[in-house]
Symmetry: C2
Subunit: 194 residues, 2 copies
C-alpha cells in the first residue's frame, strides 16, 4: 500500500483545546472564503474571525497556503460509506462519477489547487487526500470480496482509475467522460486475480 492515510498533525485529541482551536480556525477560513473569495484572505483576517492570535496560526500551520490546504483536505474527507449498488463495477462507477463531478466543480478545482500548492514535505496534504480515496476504494473492494467477487488490488485501481481521472481534472481542459470512466473501470476489473 503506497498511500498514506490520515496525517498526525491534524488529528488532535477530540474536544481538547487544540481541537477547538483547529475547528475555530477552519470555520473562520471557510466562512471568509465564502464571503470574500480565496484571493482576499490573509492570516490576520482569519485569526481575528477565529478569535486567536496570528502567531497561533503561523505556529501551527506555517503559512496561509498550508492552512488553506489543511482546510481543503478536511472538506475532502468522505462523510460516509460509498454507495452499495450490488456489484463492484456498479460501486466503482457510482463512486468515480460522483468524485469526478465534485472535483470538476469550481469548489472542487479550488480544493485540488489548495492541497497541491502547499509545501509541507513530510505530511503532504495531497497524500492525505489520496489516502482518503484509497480507503474508500478499499471499502468497495472488501465489500466485493464478501460478495465473492474477484477483485484487483487497491493500488491497481488507484493507478488505472483514480490516476487518469485526476490527470484529466488537473492537466486537460475537460474532465473524463462517463464512457472513459467506465472503460478504465472495466480495464482494472479485467486484471482481477492476476
Amino acid at each position: 500500500m503506497v498511500f498514506s492515510t490520515v496525517g498526525t498533525r491534524t488529528a488532535p485529541r477530540p474536544g481538547g483545546r487544540s481541537a477547538r482551536v483547529q475547528e475555530a480556525v477552519h470555520r473562520a477560513a471557510r466562512e471568509l472564503t465564502a464571503e470574500l473569495g480565496r484571493e482576499a484572505l490573509t492570516v490576520p483576517m482569519i485569526a481575528t474571525r477565529a478569535g486567536v492570535t496570528p502567531s497561533t496560526i503561523y505556529r501551527r500551520w506555517g503559512d496561509l497556503a498550508e492552512l488553506l490546504a489543511d482546510v481543503s483536505v478536511e472538506r475532502m474527507r468522505p462523510e460516509g460509506e460509498p454507495a452499495d449498488t450490488g456489484s463492484l463495477r456498479g460501486d466503482l462507477l457510482a463512486w468515480a462519477e460522483q468524485y469526478n463531478e465534485e472535483m470538476s466543480s469550481q469548489p472542487g478545482q479550488g480544493m485540488l489547487r489548495d492541497v497541491l500548492s502547499a509545501q509541507s514535505p513530510d505530511d503532504r496534504p495531497s497524500c492525505r487526500c489520496a489516502g482518503f480515496v484509497a480507503l474508500q476504494i478499499g471499502v468497495l473492494l472488501d465489500r466485493a470480496r464478501t460478495r465473492g467477487e474477484a477483485t484487483p488490488p487497491v493500488d491497481r485501481v488507484m493507478d488505472m482509475l483514480v490516476a487518469p481521472l485526476l490527470f484529466r481534472l488537473l492537466f486537460t481542459p475537460a474532465p473524463a467522460t462517463a464512457d472513459e470512466i467506465a472503460g478504465w473501470i472495466d480495464a482494472s476489473l479485467a486484471t482481477a486475480g492476476s
Copy 2:
C-alpha cells in the same frame, strides 16, 4: 486529442518588444529564485531586476503565481527530440524514467507545484505542460509506426503511463519505481491495435 498544445499568451512574435520583455522577466524570475528561493520573491523585486515596471508584469501575467507558473512551463518545454533506442518500448522506458527522475527532484516538484497553483481558467499552465508531454509521446509513436510497430493512440499512453506517473509524483510519498513504469508501458503496448 484531449491535450491542448502551446498557449497563445506566451508565444509572442520572436524578437519583438513583447518577446524581449518576456525573456527579461523570465530570466529575472529564474535568477531571483535561484538566489533567494521562491518564497522570498515579489513582483516589484522581479520588475526591478528585469528593468520593467511592476504594472507591466501585472498587466501581462496577472499575479506572481501566474508568472511563476509561466516560467515553470517554459522550463518544462522539451529541448529536443526524445532518445531513439530502436524500439517503442525502449523509447517509452527511456522517456518515462528521465521524466520521472526530473519531476521527482526538488526543482521538478517545485515546477509541478507552480503550474498547478495558477488560476488561469482558459490557458491553464498545467494543460500546456501536458501538451508538451503529449507531443513528445506523439514523436515516439510516429517513429514506431515508421519502424512498422503497432502503436496505441497517444491518449491511451497518457492515461495508462503518464497519468499514474504524475499521480505518484503528486499524491503519494514516493515516485513510481522502474518496475512499475515498465509494467504500465507493457500494459499500454498490449492494447496496441485495439
